[in-house]
């Protein structure tokens, strides 16, 4: 028996836990880390079950190659040679930008760094992206523009220093449960809670004020709150004067959003909006907490900017217990962004269009001709594949056939590729379409680091040996690089990769494995003697002055009409994670939520004659699925909610492929739907 300290592979909270290894070398349980500053001996149910899927019989145990239309076992040599060979061949024929790589927010920092290095240094294209495109691309764009850094401004420990929480578009107790529970505890002891979300989520039940605004009307709500704050003289004038610029732009724009106007857009009353504004402005320490409800819109970046505006207007930033706090979904989505698994930046958000940055990476990597043009996003890559412009795709640990919008379109696009390689731990529906499947190790079988939502870089440690012939992702990526003829990606261990990352990435400059034995370090950590940065923008914003970038309300791309009278919004439930490949193979998690379902309000259910647990059809212009009705007052009249975990009734068969013009994030949160109760 032994216990190995590691980081939870599920959400961005970044709890630490011990994997308990039995005498037969298999995982037999989990123990929370008591000394860790975030976990403090506590985990949510996903953490408690994080060991379970590792040894599941469905794990991929050897490489597969498509022969005669079927995926058949092959040797690593064959599979790797095929990936490198086909990617090269296709590039020779169609140019460097005919290939793309999807990296993964589930894999480590080192692996994301290597995936972007492979794409750029070896394949000479900037076509690399990952699932942040689907979750927080709007945050990265929106906050970088206003504050100069696109990450959670404060720390999880700040929850205990706040006296008001404004939770907008985050079902915190289900998606970031340990943070959600800490909010509950603070509110038990007098903290104030304001929830803006038309689902009556757990936090809404406990809130001092619950705003059930219409989906996609956040900008109108936030602008009207700022209108009230300004007109009632509740702003932090000193902060605005000393720390920000272009306040006049905001003043001018929100003048057009009196509560009465916003009330018509949001469905709230003017009084509710004014109350919210006053409550928010009354707090000394107000924390804005948001997630996908803000970002996954065709106006996701505008939503993010509006949150940032509200914080600056009231001086709620740059101090403990305040801030604009996007909660990052995946365990390592922060790190995957930091590592430059994005089409426009190298690690540390150094722009590929910047000559100096390009020169620096060319020198370090010993290559010439790093591409100057920004690559395509993962959403654009799907469209490009459908259009025949993208020919080959190497997917590492992502499952776009379930996670991207309008998956019928995704499937057609992937089938249209000349070559698709998929690297994963289970045979996903994306892997079903692949020409080569590479079996990867899970988090329990490899070393590396994850960066949590609070920018905490922490260790992942190998607890068990690889299952079957599976290999760690970093190893596979490097093998492909060598086989593609590049000798600059040979490392003994992830440790050595982190050394390279630190040398090239200013915010990670002081990070090395020898410093990560404890609870990790929060970036920016620029030097070996720097202790990390729990709160950003203290005294000064990363970009100097914070800039107000007001946004006008724009409606979602597809609103209900006579044929499709409901709003369909999608997300996750507490027990499952994303496409469910791990959680649906974990006994207790799967048992809790076995079936695909749709939440529908009691009023709507009554008028349609639908009973709780009845199987019904939910359809949109993209398709239709059969799901169980969950009649619940969590749902607001006129709004349906569906989790996207279920392959047998994929919510993303229904969602719309409409993107934010800047962040290219899809509008998972709003499309028009109808319900059919007949078989």
């Amino acid at each position: 028996m032994k216990r190995v300290l590691t980081t939870c592979p599920y959400c961005g909270v970044g709890c630490n836990l011990y994997l308990v290894v039995g005498d037969d070398g298999r995982l037999v349980g989990v123990e929370p880390s008591v000394g860790h500053p975030v976990s403090r001996g506590q985990l949510c149910i996903k953490g408690w079950n994080a060991f379970h899927f590792v040894n599941h019989p469905d794990r991929l145990t050897h490489p597969l190659i498509r022969r005669g239309g079927r995926l058949v076992p092959a040797s690593w040599d064959e599979a790797l040679a095929l990936v490198a060979g086909r990617m090269r061949e296709i590039q020779d024929k169609h140019g460097p930008d005919s290939v793309a790589v999807f990296s993964s927010a589930k894999t480590t920092n080192e692996e994301n760094y290597l995936a972007m290095k492979l794409t750029r240094a070896v394949f000479k294209t900037n076509n690399v992206d990952h699932c942040a495109r689907l979750c927080h691309a709007s945050t990265v764009a929106g906050l970088a523009a206003t504050f100069g850094s696109g990450a959670m401004t404060n720390s999880i420990a700040c929850v205990e220093q706040a006296d008001l929480f404004f939770v907008i578009g985050s079902n915190t107790t289900e998606q970031h449960p340990i943070i959600g529970a800490r909010i509950i505890q603070v509110c038990q002891n007098g903290g104030k809670l304001m929830v803006a979300d038309n689902r009556k989520i757990r936090l809404a039940r406990l809130a001092d004020l619950h705003l059930r605004h219409r989906n996609g009307t956040d900008v109108a709500l936030l602008n009207a709150m700022m209108h009230v704050i300004i007109s009632e003289g509740l702003t932090d004038e000193e902060f605005i004067a000393s720390r920000t610029e272009r306040y006049e732009d905001l003043e001018r724009l929100v003048a057009h959003y009196p509560p009465a106007r916003a009330a018509r857009i949001t469905g709230l009353t003017p009084e509710e909006i004014a109350d919210a504004a006053r409550l928010f402005a009354s707090a000394d320490h107000a924390m804005i907490i948001y997630a996908m409800g803000i970002t996954q819109h065709t106006h996701g970046v505008d939503n993010v900017r509006s949150c940032a505006n509200l914080a600056m207007l009231t001086g709620n930033i740059g101090r403990p217990g305040t801030g604009v706090n996007p909660l990052r979904g995946q365990n390592n989505v922060q790190g995957a962004c930091d590592m430059g698994a994005l089409p426009d930046v190298y690690s540390g958000y150094q722009r590929v269009t910047d000559d100096a940055a390009r020169a620096k990476f060319q020198r370090a990597w010993g290559v010439r001709g790093l591409p100057r043009d920004v690559g395509i996003t993962s959403t654009a890559a799907i469209d490009a594949a459908a259009a025949g412009d993208l020919k080959a795709l190497y997917v590492i640990g992502e499952n776009p056939t379930l996670s991207h919008p309008d998956i019928r379109h995704v499937r057609t696009a992937l089938q249209n590729l000349e070559f698709l390689a998929v690297q994963d731990i289970f045979q996903t529906t994306t892997a079903d379409l692949a020409d080569v499947v590479l079996p990867a190790c899970s988090f329990a079988e490899k070393d590396g680091t994850f960066t949590s939502t609070e920018r905490r870089v922490q260790r992942v440690r190998r607890a068990v040996s690889p299952i079957g012939e599976s290999r760690p992702d970093w190893h596979i990526i490097c093998e492909i690089a060598s086989r593609a003829g590049y000798s600059g990606m040979q490392y003994d261990s992830p440790d050595a990769v982190m050394e390279e990352i630190a040398a090239l990435t200013p915010s990670y400059g002081g990070i090395s494995y020898s410093r990560l034995d404890g609870p990790g370090l929060q970036w920016p950590c620029p030097a070996a003697d720097h202790q990390g940065t729990p709160v950003l923008h203290v005294g000064k914003f990363a970009r100097g002055q914070g800039v107000f970038r007001p946004a006008d309300y724009r409606p979602p791309a597809e609103l209900p009409d006579d044929d499709y009278p409901f709003v369909l919004t999608t997300g996750r439930n507490y027990f499952h994670f994303h496409t469910g490949t791990m959680t649906r193979r974990s006994r207790l998690l799967h048992r809790e939520e076995r079936f695909p379902y749709v939440e529908i309000s009691p009023e709507d259910a009554r008028s349609l004659g639908i009973r709780d647990q009845q199987w019904i059809h939910v359809g949109t212009r993209r398709g239709e699925v059969r799901v169980q009705a969950r009649v619940t007052d969590t749902a607001m009249k006129g709004v349906l909610f569906m989790p996207f975990h279920y392959v047998e009734a994929a919510a993303n068969l229904l969602t719309i492929n409409a993107l934010d013009p800047e962040a290219e994030i899809p509008e998972f949160k709003v499309c028009a739907a109808r319900v059919r109760s007949t078989p």
């Binding site: 349980g29 506590q42 379970h52 019989p57």
Partner: protein, 335 residues
């Protein structure tokens, strides 16, 4: 009675590894204390209750019951080396006696007794608690007790196995009595116990309304930790994995805080509502078990209060119950 220095205790435990699978409090790198083997990390005898479930050596989170292959079943066998579990607190040992009885009742649970039979348990108590606190003396419920007088550990055996173990210990100073330590133990405040007893009576008298449970349930995030770490929680889920030609049957810690725990195949669920589940967690320990087993099945080990992210462990909830519903005590019926 022998009394040993900490160093002697450590050497003694090490000397027992030839005959026993010794599991004792180990300090993990971040300070977490768990029951582990001596080679897993530095032995951490002082410090009070371990953070892990103290009954986990006998009832681990995941346990393989059998493997079936081509018509033959390989059942889990009794462990080769008997277990020696060191470092339970008096409360943990009390909980262990409860689950011993539970697993032996009606149907004897082989998977548990494969590990529990032939095992020995050593409680650690006295002046070696967390932050210098005093740990209650068990005075039984185990084979042997190490009672710390602040410097040395006095070996107090209760069973034949305990005597044999004590006999194997090195010769240390002889101590004739632990009366002063016992007095110190007896003088420990028992407020938590009193609150628990009063809450138990209020529950049995049905004086805690549904609204109270709804309020508490609103705060529960269903992490399941209160059950998983509780030494008297024994529920498990059974499942099979098919691996090639082999079918493996496992059991896995379960939790009554989950909707799926009692859901019937029809979809009907007697515990479908959150407040019913929250009520059950407390009610079962304080009222139902009292009726069925004649005792409260919470030994006040303190784990659920530490591990609950929402602050609704049993001590917190019972305090709240007594505060809100036990007020008539002065002039009304005795609670």
């Amino acid at each position: 009675m022998k009394s040993l220095t900490l160093q002697q205790v450590q050497d003694f435990l090490r000397s027992l590894t030839s005959d026993y699978d010794v599991q004792a409090p180990i300090a993990l790198p971040d300070g977490t204390r768990v029951l582990g083997r001596l080679d897993e990390g530095p032995l951490a005898i002082p410090g009070g209750r371990v953070d892990s479930k103290p009954t986990s050596p006998f009832f681990p989170q995941l346990d393989r019951i059998f493997a079936y292959r081509r018509g033959s079943i390989a059942m889990q066998q009794p462990v080769e080396k008997p277990l020696l579990v060191v470092g339970l607190t008096a409360e943990d040992a009390d909980a262990l006696t409860f689950i011993d009885e539970f697993f032996a009742a009606e149907y004897r649970d082989d998977v548990y007794f494969n590990k529990r039979d032939r095992s020995a348990v050593i409680v650690v108590s006295g002046r070696c608690g967390k932050d210098g606190g005093f740990l209650k003396i068990a005075g039984g419920d185990c084979d042997l007790e190490f009672v710390c007088d602040g410097e040395r550990y006095v070996l107090v055996p209760y069973t034949e196995a305990g005597k044999r173990l004590a006999h194997r210990a090195p010769e240390g100073d002889e101590v004739s009595s632990i009366a002063d330590l016992q007095a110190e133990s007896d003088a420990l405040p028992d407020d938590d116990r009193q609150v628990l007893e009063r809450a138990s009576r209020l529950l049995q008298e049905d004086r805690v309304p549904e609204e109270f449970w709804a309020e508490i349930a609103d705060r529960c995030i269903a992490c399941t930790a209160c059950n998983l770490l509780c030494p008297t929680c024994t529920c498990f889920e059974v499942f099979d994995w098919t691996r090639g030609e082999q079918i493996e049957r496992y059991r896995l810690w379960d939790s009554c805080q989950l909707a799926g725990f009692m859901r019937e195949a029809s979809g009907h669920n007697p515990m479908g509502e959150e407040h019913v589940r929250t009520r059950r967690r407390i009610h079962h320990k304080l009222a139902a078990d009292r009726t069925r087993w004649g005792r409260i099945s919470c030994s006040l080990c303190g784990r659920c209060d530490d591990v609950c992210p929402s602050g609704i462990g049993i001590k917190a909830v019972t305090r709240e119950i007594v505060r809100r519903f036990g007020i008539e005590k002065e002039n009304g019926p005795e609670t």
